[in-house]
Symmetry: C2
Subunit: 243 residues, 2 copies
Amino acid sequence: MSKRQLLLLSSSNYHGHEFLQFARDWITDFLKKNNVSKILFIPYASTEPDSYTKYTEKVAKPLKEFGFDVEGIHESRDPVEAINNASAIFIGGGNTFHLLKTLYDKRIVEAIRSRVLDNGIPYIGSSAGTNVATVSINTTNDMPIVLPPTFYALQLLDFNINPHYLDPITDDKHRGETRAQRINEFHHINSSPVLGLREGSALLVDGDNATLIGHTKAILFCRNEDPQEFEPDSDLSFLVSSS
Amino acid sequence: MSKRQLLLLSSSNYHGHEFLQFARDWITDFLKKNNVSKILFIPYASTEPDSYTKYTEKVAKPLKEFGFDVEGIHESRDPVEAINNASAIFIGGGNTFHLLKTLYDKRIVEAIRSRVLDNGIPYIGSSAGTNVATVSINTTNDMPIVLPPTFYALQLLDFNINPHYLDPITDDKHRGETRAQRINEFHHINSSPVLGLREGSALLVDGDNATLIGHTKAILFCRNEDPQEFEPDSDLSFLVSSS
Ligand SMILES: [Ca+2]
Ligand SMILES: [Ca+2]
């Protein structure tokens, strides 16, 4: 039985709410349940030069209000040591390619994986931070502004997630692929299931149990099958139990 | 002075038109000007298994109606030889990552580049086929379903294009990045200009001259500058003259 403790948000923003506020109760319950008061934040999804401090402050503000302390990994001289000393990890959104490349550049992929899977420290991901928690970033929506050494990611789960999942717009005149068509292209090549998390929802993973939480349904795409909708509070353990 | 002859379509579909029909006159004029009656079609952007013949037939139908013969590169035993014998090349849309990876897998990147830049054979690209004609695929909208060995592409031009360019939707409740924000992230890392080609438009390149053609304006993003709009028929030679 896995020790993993994951809270994977589709996004940090949800229409009508301030930054991270829609997830206040989820974050608070998740960290309290795990007896954590301090979080190591990883701002590497931010692409703007010299923005890691600003991004960390942006995240620290609501989290402080929720009762937690936040430190940015860029404040440490040794990122691996920072991971090894962390009692919880939060990876925020931005550009998934930039994030994954920087995780590899800083050589912290294995350290994070080990802390989460072997030591059971809680992991929060949002958007790009949710993408990298899965098998691979093959189902990100982001623009490939940099080339990571591989698309394989932290593999805290052995399926894929598509965050910010978007339903097709009725009568859309645009001829680019819909999100479902893009995921279908993924399934032409790959067999991993893809969970489409709409904004305002999250996947909560406790060992081998998983629950969909939040305000919106999720949609699951399995290769050669019709997509399946799941209501909030659905038990999605069947997705994680084998991983 | 470059010999290159390029017709780069934002998309193969345009609202209210059958497949490729909106570009009928452009394709016809472009190929006639270059005395071409036969086109080698490259269907590698298609991700569906065993779909190359179907895709080639789909493209051949309107092109035949316009007066041109089409052969699929997959019909040749040797793709490099097919390129070297081609009198014109058309690369269609689909998934840009799959397309670029297959161009490298089949070892035809250099052959195409040489035929177009050294021998001046006409190149038509649409969507993904337009992406790969530029410096790199860093500004594709597609999902990264496979990992190519590099994001560098055919480099028939030395700037980037974003096909299917989309203006932000007013009052959008979705919190994913807008297209302009994604291109801004690209410019945090890269300095290459990005031409956003809206559906229904194309870039026509004749040696060192370039013209925007079609039904919609194009938008140019240069690093650290405000984006600039160009009307149809604008002279965009300043973008290509240095390349
Ligand atoms: Ca993003
Ligand atoms: Ca595409």
